[in-house]
Symmetry: D2
Subunit: 342 residues, 4 copies
Amino acid sequence: MIRFECDYATGAHPKVLDKLVETNLEECPGYGVDEHCQRAAALLKELCQAPEANVHFLVGGTQTNTTVIAAALRPHQGAVCAHTGHINVHETGAIEATGHKVLTIPGKDGKITAQQIADLCQAHYDDPSVEHTVQPGMVYLSHPTELGTLYTRAELEEIRKVADRYRLTVFVDGARLVYGLAAGDVTLDNLARLTDVFYLGGTKAGTLFGEAVVITNEALNSDFRYAIKQHGGMLAKGRLLGVQFEALLEDGLYEEIGKKAVAQAMRLRDAFLSKGCPMLFPSPTNQLFPVLPDRVLQSLEDKYSCCFWEKTDEDHTAVRFCTTWSTQDEDIDALIHDLNAL
Amino acid sequence: MIRFECDYATGAHPKVLDKLVETNLEECPGYGVDEHCQRAAALLKELCQAPEANVHFLVGGTQTNTTVIAAALRPHQGAVCAHTGHINVHETGAIEATGHKVLTIPGKDGKITAQQIADLCQAHYDDPSVEHTVQPGMVYLSHPTELGTLYTRAELEEIRKVADRYRLTVFVDGARLVYGLAAGDVTLDNLARLTDVFYLGGTKAGTLFGEAVVITNEALNSDFRYAIKQHGGMLAKGRLLGVQFEALLEDGLYEEIGKKAVAQAMRLRDAFLSKGCPMLFPSPTNQLFPVLPDRVLQSLEDKYSCCFWEKTDEDHTAVRFCTTWSTQDEDIDALIHDLNAL
Amino acid sequence: MIRFECDYATGAHPKVLDKLVETNLEECPGYGVDEHCQRAAALLKELCQAPEANVHFLVGGTQTNTTVIAAALRPHQGAVCAHTGHINVHETGAIEATGHKVLTIPGKDGKITAQQIADLCQAHYDDPSVEHTVQPGMVYLSHPTELGTLYTRAELEEIRKVADRYRLTVFVDGARLVYGLAAGDVTLDNLARLTDVFYLGGTKAGTLFGEAVVITNEALNSDFRYAIKQHGGMLAKGRLLGVQFEALLEDGLYEEIGKKAVAQAMRLRDAFLSKGCPMLFPSPTNQLFPVLPDRVLQSLEDKYSCCFWEKTDEDHTAVRFCTTWSTQDEDIDALIHDLNAL
Amino acid sequence: MIRFECDYATGAHPKVLDKLVETNLEECPGYGVDEHCQRAAALLKELCQAPEANVHFLVGGTQTNTTVIAAALRPHQGAVCAHTGHINVHETGAIEATGHKVLTIPGKDGKITAQQIADLCQAHYDDPSVEHTVQPGMVYLSHPTELGTLYTRAELEEIRKVADRYRLTVFVDGARLVYGLAAGDVTLDNLARLTDVFYLGGTKAGTLFGEAVVITNEALNSDFRYAIKQHGGMLAKGRLLGVQFEALLEDGLYEEIGKKAVAQAMRLRDAFLSKGCPMLFPSPTNQLFPVLPDRVLQSLEDKYSCCFWEKTDEDHTAVRFCTTWSTQDEDIDALIHDLNAL
């Protein structure tokens, strides 16, 4: 079976694993204050061109989202996001468990617009019973979105303006950011400039686990280590996060991983399109959502795994194919070959 | 510098690391439902002689404590523990952040007694304004305690009886359990029988990270995976936990690690005692708390690191020395030699 | 100015106020265990034909909703409701502040159907990542709804069946229940039989404040007084609640209030309809939502107050008119007269 | 039976009740923005000599404590208080239910000192694992304390200095403040100057219910109405709070009530002391804690009710006697007479 159903099925990229093995017997202080964490943080701040930023390393995505949102919001505030946003759908109510409502906007292909955010805020402040409703306090964006799509730099600039007008923290969930950096026009330094906080995900990009959080908003950063500890994100052997992100960030490994997986995905996309299979969402990144005739899907299933998304009509099914650091070019070749042979 | 200040300064035991390397390219389903997790769970249930138990793997200790306590208690209930209990002191209020008060009892050497627990519960139910106060809903014990001491099997039997009388969940935090198993009379099957839930810690015992939770209370176990996800403990590459615990549990590696580190600690203890340095707490496990004349401490500090605990008088200081899987016998030899030479 | 904008603009019904004055100097035990509370509870249980039920008195609606929902749900569960449900819109995230997500269904005229609830639950349990999403644990219904509409007995029977199938607590918010009892086919004993918990609101029905909660689910009732205290709902002078509900429940005062206000509203509705002003929602209770030409609205505004609801087109506005215990028949006469004169 | 067991056994002071009756049919906007609330707020700000302060009215004490503390603290912070503090003991974990730990200091007669607070804070910031522990964010004082004792103005000045040094919000719970104003040297304007937020309790001082919160810290005040609503404290008929506090504050009724009850209590105290019955706590306010020989207690119990506090030895019991607005001088006379006759 050749697997395309997710981007976290294998372990770590060999360069990441090697570095873990190499440093295994080093004795380091715990909880993320070691030299590996410091060096990884310095590398990331440099890539962000943000010397004043602060970098923290957490273990996983839900944990990171929860920690950031709980630290950023006051109790009567909520986080605005697309209805498809990860925090709204797939975190078992982790945000609400910290006391905050998720305020949803109907997204288009996983994205929301500056105008929609402004409208939601304006409607809130126009309500004569304003204090009976949850105050928007943050805008949460995923980049790439859960549907593989990307914001443009111009769109982020607009969202930043609206956020400033309505005093919203801007938080970008970058669980798959390496693929976004490889495909769109948004760079790390754009994110550092246009958000209050964002993260670069390791788990889906070649580390065993780990998310690198970049905070440029000083008020949010103050006491952030207390928040990490309270949310269970302060790894005793914190050096594991530093070591892995050193490997990912030095010598451009994160870029290499992102570019290769996106190129593979685009080859696959073109193959589907040329067979007349449209995409459910216009994803330019490592997640593809082709709509396949059921007989095509059945003939592929013996050899290739993908992830069921939804039935689009009686005879067609949308599925998700993912590429990642461990995807082999030969596997893409094989799938394209078999597709063309159908 | 020879380091004794904590038991999480190095990476993973070589056998654990080897297994991570070996399995790195395997493609596994995510979130802890893979074959490695299943095999590790089976091994642990067998060691516990508890075929009906359920085993879950989480990443860290604070996360595990929070997840278990929030899942076990109703909103008006609190967790009873020693005032030195980890959940009361060193988790940045993580338990309270889930809505629950920690109800403290003055411990002796880190331990609380069945009688103290019964007294606290009885005082609660005798209060005419009973519903104005937090209902005890759980007893939280650390084994070994934060001060290295151990409960006896007989003590746990008594606590179980009190817990049954007052309908308390019994939860044992086993962050350092491998050292407790090596030193006391409490076995894994005792724990499975006498608690509702306990965990065997990996982080301080040879894995990179990870805690293996054993739940024997069926009501608590139902929907526990939702709780793990909500608290950010469901690792995408969950297989990493399974793989590491397989290595730790098969061929008795966890026992070997525990015994060796405890033997090293006992040699060190005897050396301190024979030099007239008493122990602040009577720990039979891998954490020692010698009270040293300050001039002794100063003369050791150039070569050996330990952890400041407290000043006991003007000229004496209590410190903590830890051994762990990576502690070398030669380092113990050297320290004993230098001690004797003073 | 004749006021129709809400149903809580005046104080208490004279019979309620008289009883407060009469009993003012009685010395009673605090916190709701006095004889007035006991008698009011007995009256309500009798009206519900539910001798085994438990009755508790709380101060306000948001408090009651929060207390009940937090007591009923486990941490990974959410409350299902119409998107217009009070807990979703107008409680400043109070439910989320207790840790629970509100799971919304698009309502029709404020109501949701058994089938919609079943579909939401089925979709949850069919999801292969079931534990990554919030488990539906309760269905919350308002009766009357926020839009004045009512469930029929048959609809509640269907919802009860779905709730049993998916193990949902059924909770009915009866902030305006006296008006629902006066207008539809659902009786107090139906509610006691078909829900796990519901409440009869006093605030909008003739008391100064107070909500009477009826719990028929024994597990939910256990320790409910702890929940009331924790959520700030245990009034020191709890007798005030007992006294007011005695007045409301004895001699059928609650029925009298409900019937009169509903009759007034229906007269008003007919007057609007006969002038060609349709209703935005088909409310048979004390809240009306006529859609008025803006010139009609302007000519009424000098003399009558109502509540803006929404612009329906360029020239028309939907507004809310409420009747309540203190609405005078002469005021209805005057408004109808002025309407007809337009 | 003549009752002294608590200060909330009767309804409202006649002047308060009269004003409720008088204004009963007025039509007011809901939720505390009516003219009565405005006038009561203006009266209180004038008494506090704090024209810039903000005044909010809530229903009860637990609700007020919860609302203020949750609004003031960031998630990783806790509230420092005496171990006897109401929020630590008698609110069913309501503070923890909002996510915050209560950090206790052993009190003396219910009070804590500036030095103790400073020591706790300093120990926190000196801890090398500072972010593993809860950050002190507020000091909570009761005045009078739960044991009837009072802070002096000088003590509050010292506490304010410490609070400024460690960036703590100062919050004074004034559930029984009218009795404190009548007995000590702390005035309303002192409180407005030395705290960030305090409240003047109505429930135990002549209203049916209600607490008037005075906030001088602008950051805390911003969006405070959202917090009130979220915590269920925004009464629909908010005018009830305004009306009652108007009655209490105009013409010095609160002072009259406080002085009379304190004078009665002091007469009673002198009578106990002259019979050789010492006080368990040196309360100068309306709560007395005499230690009585059990035979004295038994001979009083037929005619006078009081509240059991604790057994002090085999033959003696400490009890609580309270006076309040409705205590009759003749009842005090009778008790003193009977005491002297023993």
